[in-house]
Symmetry: C2
Subunit: 453 residues, 2 copies
């Protein structure tokens, strides 16, 4: 009989698993169950659909349903997986008003994450939105087009908060950005966060850090966001984007072991604690390549990789997930902000004597037109001089995203500061400098340890 | 007594050596002898000065003479080193009409390269230029401004030939580009060279490959370039840029051992065969990181690195040059062309069973505006699946230069195709794809060996 692979979840991890399973085992029967109508959509693109750079939501599909079906995948849209019976190898699915038992030989859970709803009143008010699904994205764009809000409050200055700030400003909406932490984008160092705050203010954004939102209330002409610090921020639109948590109800009810932040525990093969059940993506713990232990780091790139591993192993493969470094980049107007590896505080919490050097350097020879200044931070082990992390802020046209990838590769390969200085990187005056900015930072770091180990 | 370090050559390698020596040993007396009036100039920037993007030649200085002197370096401009007496540790220098003996404790030879003058008549004609020195660059720009040539022939489609083609076209000069090889830029694969030929033709350049120039003759209204194949190419300006060779007369006369292509032989510490004599930059053999043997690969980045190693070791250090991968990038109008490591033919000549896969991939999610197609080639060992080389052609705004650096880092670290697929690289829809183009190419390579090892 044809082996049956059932996948719960039609986003990055689920579809990657399905495609890889079909590629490795063309005879396997692959069914993908998903609760909405959007298989294989790029939820990372939602801010750009809301902003209008992406004209319509169907464009956000990585692949169309027809393409997935042509790859031999059976799609079950608007189907909610209600329960897993791991002993009988059955998923109970609610679809089109009916409950049906779907038998599986192997199962992949790819239920993703859900946005965190902070415990404050007012989240249900019209004009207040969270953002994680295509439906939410469509609702926000519909609201913008129907009501033309003039004032927005964005609660949370993480990646999505910054992206939403950009696209709302570009729609000529006055944006107030509220963040609990001392600076925006707490995933990078405070110094860079402060730089970003100034940059946002230069774009007309009203930025309030160390601000904890306590309530959202309706007013006669819209909404009012209240903070514990006594701030009152009027708005016509409020975006609550304070992070995500793993969506693990299904897996937990079936008895799957969970770990950090409640995410599903998996091994390197993406196996859960349940027999014949794999899991991948934003619902699972992610192995950290430097820390060598699981963390919760929900990222699209990781979901694709874990899905591919789960799909291959579910059909008899023996592939391992190599781990994440938390490499991330976000575009913010003309800038990009990128990081990989550990910040100094993360490295110290891990027990490593870390040091960070900060450098500013030109992206290319300054005699050639349009040279741009890049802000770099490199964190390294003071004893071994091994790289631990890197951060960069600068104009995205100066290749910030790919520059961080050089360091992500270097950190993966356990390079030291001196190793970075020795790399043979490319140079031509319009596109680089004879010593790459990372090499300049590595030299500064090396000198700092030679002066004061 | 203060130790005396004498450096012959005031370009990248010489000045890097001088600066590093002063940094490591602030008490050392450092003298830099150079034949022209331009210490520490960026000769790589000459095409952009000739084209006009760089308004005046003094801007091409990496550092001013005053900055170098402030770093404790004694400059001897317009001083020609005529001979080295290694037994007496003396350099004979001709300067300001006088010959003087300059004693040294350690010597660094950084005499660089000189342009190859092909054995054809007509090189001395007015309007015929080679390009390697600041004086040559100034002469060409002066000629352009005085005579406003309408037609140029560029002989040689290497890096400098392509750069000169671009800047001449941008000055509204009709350019004919002649190249002996079957395609332009023979440092990349033929397929990419052919792509570049079409691109150049789209910019109005008349490209003739498999064309060997035999003579340049004066005519009633300018110059005529003749080829062995019977071509006749009229011009008002002819650029002869067919490569460089190491400038080693001084070192050879002193008895220094030379090696490949006549370049000065050096060890990892950049020591020559002569006691107390180091050498660095375009005049020396360069250790190749993959081939693990010396090659001749004159590049500015390498000159900087070798100079730093020579300067540090000349004052008692013990640093090693880590080697080159031949990483290079050139801008050509809106495109950049980059390579690192070995081409398949180079790998095969080295005795490795190599294979190359070609991939086209978007630089960022195609639903976001202005996505650009990149052309990639990845060469790998068919047996071990280890990376050997990578090449990319695409719009330079799509970060081609930094994308090649990711692969230069990966090759340095001896990564395999699967290792590349496992790298945790950055992603956001406006600046990348969930699987980076190199990862897509690595997967295609991996599948090719699984299908047919």
């Amino acid at each position: 009989m044809t082996p049956r692979l059932v996948i719960v979840g039609g986003s990055d991890a689920g579809i990657s698993a399905a495609l890889q399973a079909r590629k490795c085992a063309p005879d396997v029967q692959v069914q993908v169950i998903y609760a909405d109508a959007y298989p294989n959509f790029s939820v990372c693109g939602l801010p750009y659909y809301i902003g209008g750079a992406v004209s319509d939501w169907p464009l956000l599909a990585h692949r169309t349903a027809a393409e997935l079906e042509a790859a031999g995948i059976t799609l079950m849209p608007q189907a909610v997986a209600e329960a897993i019976d791991p002993s009988r190898q059955i998923v109970w699915v609610q679809a089109r008003g009916q409950r049906q038992a779907l038998p599986y030989d192997q199962l992949v859970i790819a239920t993703g994450a859900k946005p965190i709803a902070p415990p404050i009143p007012g989240l249900e008010l019209p004009g207040v939105f969270m953002l994680h699904t295509i439906d939410q994205g469509r609702a926000i764009r519909g609201y913008l087009e129907a009501y033309h809000p003039r004032r927005a409050v964005v609660v949370g200055a993480g990646y999505i908060g910054l992206e939403m700030t950009e696209v709302l400003v570009e729609r000529n909406i006055a944006v107030t950005l509220l963040e609990q932490a001392p600076a925006v984008l707490p995933t990078v160092d405070l110094e860079l966060g402060q730089l970003l705050t100034s940059y946002l203010e230069g774009k007309g954004v009203s930025v309030h850090c160390r601000t904890r939102v306590t309530a959202i209330e309706p007013t006669s002409d819209g909404l009012m966001v209240h903070s514990l610090e006594g701030g009152r921020f009027p708005a016509d639109l409020v975006m609550v984007v304070v992070g995500v948590e793993p969506d693990t109800g299904l897996a937990k009810a079936a008895g799957a072991r969970t770990g950090i932040r409640g995410a599903i525990a998996v091994d390197f093969a993406m196996r859960t604690s349940l027999p014949h059940v794999f899991a991948a993506g934003d619902c699972v713990e992610t192995y950290h390549r430097l820390l060598r232990r699981p963390v919760y780091l929900p990222l699209g790139t990781t979901a694709h990789k874990q899905g591919r591993v789960a799909g291959e192993n579910a059909v008899g493969g023996s592939r391992h997930f190599a781990g994440s470094l938390g490499t991330q980049v976000v575009k913010l107007f003309d800038w990009a902000i990128a990081r990989t590896g550990l910040r100094e505080d993360e490295a110290k919490a891990w027990g490593v004597a870390a040091r960070t050097v900060a450098v500013e350097a030109w992206d290319h020879k300054s005699y050639y037109p349009e040279a741009e200044l890049l802000h770099l931070r490199v964190t390294f082990d003071r004893t071994t001089h091994r790289l631990l992390g890197a951060q960069m802020v600068g104009p995205w046209r100066a290749a910030v995203a790919k520059r961080i990838d050089v360091m992500a590769t270097a950190i993966s390969c356990e390079l030291s500061l001196r190793d970075v200085e020795n790399l043979d990187l490319s140079y031509t005056p319009p596109l680089g400098t004879p010593w790459d900015p990372w090499q300049i930072a590595a030299e500064v770091g090396q000198e700092s340890v030679e002066r004061a180990p």
